[in-house]
């Protein structure tokens, strides 16, 4: 036991001298970028299938799209990438893209309109998880041949209705818009899978990087594409290393074994920022943290109860303590920086007000179960809420489970309350409006498990029609006003308690410049990074 008390005091002593290592820190080579990140969510790197955060990072650097978001100028919105220009027809339904000349895939094959058409059709026909992003324009496996086609060496797409052009192009900046090398992919086709099995673990793009290897739960290695049309990237090799623990990531960063640590918790961010040679870079992300109340529950479906829950969140207290620096208060379903986002946050922590509302609704001895995913910050939000609810006379039982366990019950409309996070899929307001406030058929049979409103059995009280109208509105200012109106109503009436918006804090060694995780609209980019 002596040994250990000594070790302990040793640790304390060591910490007192503020973690100064005895040996010099190592340094990564000047042409190599090493990132510590949690990458256990990657299940595939096929752009037609990939949908998780870490997978999107790979896609963004490996696959060029028709239009892209410039990491050095994200405010500008989409810019020409493989398409240099586009024309919209009179009726607003057909868009014709002119392709960039002289660009080649990593295989050496030229990038043609045929490849672009193939890639989009392929995504529609495979009908994997992200396919809904394209399907919402009326593309189906049956009509893909006609609606997505090549004419005179140009790519032509025809939507079922007139949509705001910006909406269509915004969707094409998502991972699913990645253009794949048709020849290479089809050469690896097995049993008519359009190369899906092969592309799950290999890449065939034309982007600034090519995928060398993806070892699940271990690492992703990218090497630069010397023939990239916009100039070869400075970092010749990028290694993303899977490191689960924040403490381990911080130690690696402080020792100079990695250049960037992406998953530090607030305490480790505070500690790392005090270390020489490390800077913290904040980026507002699109991810929202929310509570959802199941409207099948007889008490939770009362308007006063829904309202009361919005006063039972210690917004300020959490933001200033365990969420410090990593979440900001946000009470609307459109993340800040999105077109039409509202910055009204009317609800504050007010137990008395909540009690009044509960009394008005005649609710007594309410006991509810809340499903929380196995992630520390969420467990803490859950406990803070549990504590506040107890003061208002509501007994909250927390059930912690893995993402998949809890999610399955949420999708089956079984949970009373769900503590969840939601990240937008593409940089257009429809991405969140179309799930939080849109639910055309609230019956169990509809099985619209993709819609948050449906999962909570909420018929949206007329917002569905307003969302439908907003997405086809061509006038930008009008569209903004429509979203502001929808959000104002949503805040008051919906069973969603939107609480926070995420801020991603990257701890970066100070010789690294131009690092970008893509803010609220996209994923991380590596090609502009320099040392």
């Amino acid at each position: 036991m002596n040994v250990f008390t000594r070790l302990l005091s040793g640790a304390a002593l060591g910490l007192a001298v503020s973690l100064t290592p005895l040996t010099a820190t190592a340094e990564t080579p000047p042409n190599m970028l090493v990132i510590a990140h949690r990458i256990d969510d990657i299940t595939t790197v096929d752009p037609a299938e990939s949908f998780e955060f870490a997978g999107s990072d790979i896609s963004r650097n490996v696959y060029s799209r028709l239009v892209y978001l410039d990491p050095m100028d994200l405010e500008a919105g989409y810019k020409p990438d493989l398409a240099t220009s586009w024309e919209v027809s009179e009726d607003g339904k057909t868009i014709t893209f002119t392709m960039r000349e002289g660009v080649t895939f990593h295989s050496g094959n030229p990038v043609r309109a045929e490849d672009a058409a193939f890639s989009l059709r392929r995504a529609v026909m495979l009908d994997k998880t992200p396919a809904f992003i394209l399907a919402q324009f009326g593309f189906t496996p049956e009509n893909a041949e006609e609606t997505i086609r090549v004419e005179d060496g140009k790519l032509v797409i025809t939507t079922d209705k007139k949509y705001a052009t910006s909406f269509v192009l915004n969707c094409l900046t998502a991972t699913i818009g990645g253009i794949v090398d048709m020849e290479t992919v089809m050469a690896n086709e097995v049993d008519g899978d359009m190369g899906n099995t092969w592309l799950k673990t290999n890449s065939a793009g034309s982007g600034p990087y090519k995928l060398d290897s993806w070892k699940p739960n271990e690492s992703v290695t990218l090497s630069s594409n010397p023939d990239y049309y916009d100039g070869a990237p400075t970092m010749e090799r990028v290694i993303v290393r899977h490191v689960l623990e924040s403490a381990s990531q911080r130690l690696l960063l402080e020792r100079g074994d990695v250049d960037i640590a992406r998953n530090l918790n607030p305490e480790d961010v505070a500690g790392a920022s005090a270390t020489d040679g490390i800077k913290i870079e904040d980026e507002l992300k699109g991810r929202l943290m929310y509570l959802a109340l199941n409207q099948k529950h007889p008490e939770l479906s009362k308007p006063e109860v829904r309202q009361a829950f919005k006063y039972l969140i210690d917004y300020e207290g959490m933001k200033n303590s365990f969420l410090s620096g990593q979440y900001t208060i946000h009470q609307n379903f459109l993340p800040a920086t999105y077109l039409g986002a509202s910055d009204e946050n009317p609800f504050i922590y007010n137990i008395e007000k909540a009690k009044e509302l509960l009394a008005e609704a005649g609710v007594e001895n309410l006991e509810v179960e809340i499903g929380v995913r196995e992630a520390q910050e969420r467990i803490e939000i859950g406990q803070s809420f549990q504590n506040a609810a107890a003061q208002a006379g509501i007994k909250v039982n927390i059930t912690v489970g893995t993402a998949k366990q809890i999610l399955a019950r949420y999708r089956a409309r079984e949970l009373d309350v769900y503590l969840g996070a939601w990240g937008p899929d593409y940089p257009d307001p429809q991405t969140n409006a179309g799930t939080f406030a849109y639910n055309p058929d609230n019956s169990d049979e509809a099985n619209a498990t993709g819609l948050l409103a449906w999962r909570n059995s909420w018929d949206t009280g007329g917002l569905t029609e307003k969302v439908e109208a907003a997405v086809t509105e061509g006038d930008r200012d009008k569209r903004v006003q429509m979203y502001l109106d929808i959000q104002a109503e949503f805040r008051e009436t919906s069973p969603f308690v939107v609480m926070f918006q995420q801020i991603e804090q990257s701890a970066v060694r100070d010789n690294i410049a131009n690092w970008s995780t893509g803010q609220a609209v996209t994923s991380a980019a590596y090609w502009q990074v320099t040392k």
Partner: protein
């Protein structure tokens, strides 16, 4: 004509291995089906539409009765096909070939440390029973039994890597050495040695030494305690007294007689500790970002990636059974009483 004795024994042994493995698979399979985790959801993610969901559900054959699914699976396993991981789309056998060597390397070094330190410690403690050495050995062992491994692991990492910088950090090898040597055995130390690349060897060693010492300490605790009690039993036996009376040197009494007689029991104990380490210490693997079989199976389990879980369980189960049979055999060969 009756079967010759050795053939009968071999057949019986093989039969019991087969039965145990089959049972193991069946239990795992059932667990996979009763778990409230939806494998389809694990693949398609939160946003999937119902049509995507249904397509994958059919693809996995989940619409068939359980026993039919199990039959198909066994049929595949017999042909050495463990199927494809649902989560990362690779053949499970490929994954196992990647994660198992990582665990094997760590466990082997760990058990080596445990034996080299634990056996002598146990012997000395028995010979000098009641002395300060015995007390120290007892405390060392009991502390080993009683320490939460994740706490010790994190503290070790903080001190020896973070503050002192004596050892490499989490992961199997430094980032510049990743994929430098060709993978032959999958064990980096051995691959580096085969390749003659001693830089890689040194670096890999600096990464493995801390987690291996940690596991080594835990097996040391067990091995030294067991060695001690085996030795005490022998040392109190009559033949030892006789040998002493005959004037044999204490060294010879201890090592040539007493120790010789505990070899078999000791091997059983070591085999058991080794088997435990080879299961993969999930917590150690998580803390040291060690891509081993323990965390592989755990991750797979929590995502309902049943092909991966079953494949991993077969490997771990097989090892356990092999080590068991091995120590049983030794028992029969060396210990006349057990015949």
């Amino acid at each position: 004509m009756p079967l010759p004795n050795w053939l009968r024994t071999t057949l019986l042994t093989l039969g019991s291995i087969a039965v145990t493995l089959l049972g193991l698979l069946f239990v795992t399979f059932v667990i996979g089906r009763v778990m409230p985790i939806d494998p389809v959801l694990a693949i398609v993610g939160e946003r999937a539409s119902q049509s995507t969901y249904d397509a994958v559900f059919q693809e996995l054959g989940l619409d068939k009765p359980l026993i039919v699914q199990f039959g198909y699976y066994i049929w595949d396993v017999i042909r050495l096909d463990f199927g494809t991981s649902l989560l990362n789309a690779r053949p499970v056998s490929e994954d196992l070939a990647r994660v198992f060597p990582a665990t094997l390397e760590l466990a082997t070094l760990g058990i080596f440390i445990g034996i080299v330190l634990g056996v002598p410690l146990g012997v000395v403690a028995a010979v000098r029973k009641g002395s300060w050495i015995d007390q120290v050995a007892r405390v060392v062992a009991l502390v080993g039994y009683s320490m939460p491994i994740f706490w010790l692991g994190l503290m070790g990492l903080l001190i020896f890597y973070g503050i002192l910088g004596w050892v490499g950090g989490p992961g199997r090898v430094g980032i510049f050495y990743v994929d430098v040597v060709p993978s032959v055995t999958g064990m980096i130390l051995i691959d580096a040695a085969l390749d003659g690349n001693w830089d890689v060897f040194k670096n890999a060693f600096s990464h493995i030494i801390l987690p291996a010492s940690l596991l080594g300490y835990y097996s040391l605790a067990y091995i030294s305690r067991m060695t001690r009690s085996f030795m005490l039993e022998q040392l109190s036996a009559e033949y030892i007294t006789t040998a002493r009376v005959k004037g044999m040197s204490e060294w010879d009494v201890v090592w040539k007689h007493a120790f010789k007689n505990i070899r078999v029991q000791l091997i059983t104990v070591i085999a058991l500790s080794y088997a435990n380490l080879l299961e993969g210490s999930v917590l150690t693997e998580i803390i040291f970002s060690w891509p081993g079989i323990g965390s592989y199976i755990t991750t797979a389990l929590l995502s309902a990636d049943m092909n991966a879980v079953l494949g991993g369980t077969v490997v771990v189960g097989l090892i356990f059974i092999m080590l068991n049979i091995f120590s049983d055999l030794l028992y029969k060969v060396f210990d006349p009483r057990a015949r």
